[in-house]
Amino acid sequence: MRLFVLTFALLVGLSATAEAGGPWSDQYCDIELTTIRVVDQSGNIIEEKTEEKVVCSDGVKDFLFDMGIADSCSVFTWQMPLGQTVITQRDIACHKMNGEYEIVTGYHSIE
């Protein structure tokens, strides 16, 4: 009986501490919301519904870490003055395993 209780407690404990792989203690998931509107020819909304989708990027982040490339990558914005206005630019920078940072090529955009 005592062995059964111990085994049960051990199983519960193990299943409760399941974690994502690699260095991540939490999963990198996000909920994306999509609103779908059905509109007739005169512009009246016939139907409107919101769909939720869970998107996880653990695989990519684990790959970067396991390959010794980077331990984190993030989007950042910066303000570029152009004439009298200021334009917000967006890029991705990765923190590499050697402590340096690198701007990722091909991911520049303007907000």
């Binding site: 303000q79 630019q89 920078a93 402590g99 340096e100 940072y101 690198e102 701007i103 090529t105 520049h108």
Partner: protein, 148 residues
């Protein structure tokens, strides 16, 4: 004889602790090895006016293409906004032998904002140049202003 042993032991401890202290890395030491030594600006320049927005002089007379220019600008602004002193931010071109690195040398407060002295380095087809510049962010200003 016993006294001699004690003296040898104490002096060796002193010597080894001296070596260990010399090997410690300061905040910016280490990172400097992978970039040329920066040109240090004088105190008068350090607290002088930073009157320019981003200018083409920051490309150090290199004929970079649009993507390379954007990456260099991006590296400078990311470094100024996010990166601690001494840490290198780099960029590479996928299409040709062009790369750049930037790092902050010193950060200091000024009246109404703060400034960061940084070193920028660009290498294109074997030719390399580097320069030291200052970027300042004043309270309420939308973006950084530069010394040069």
């Amino acid at each position: 004889m016993k006294l001699l042993r004690v003296i040898i032991l104490l002096s060796s401890i002193l010597v080894f602790s001296g070596i260990a202290k010399g090997g410690e890395l300061s905040e910016t030491k280490g990172s400097f090895e992978s970039m040329p030594n920066p040109t240090f600006l004088g105190e008068d320049i350090k607290y002088g006016l930073t009157a320019f927005v981003w200018r083409y002089t920051q490309f150090m007379r290199f004929r970079l293409n649009k993507e390379e220019k954007t990456m260099h600008k991006s590296a400078v602004f990311f470094m100024l906004q996010e990166v601690p002193n001494g840490k290198i931010v780099s960029w590479y071109s996928k299409k040709r032998k062009a790369n750049g690195k930037v790092r902050v040398i010193e950060s200091y407060p000024v009246s109404g904002g703060y400034c960061r002295i940084y070193q920028a380095y660009i290498k294109l087809n074997g030719t390399e140049r580097h320069k030291t510049n200052i970027g300042c962010k004043m309270d309420g200003a939308p973006t950084w202003e530069f010394y040069n």
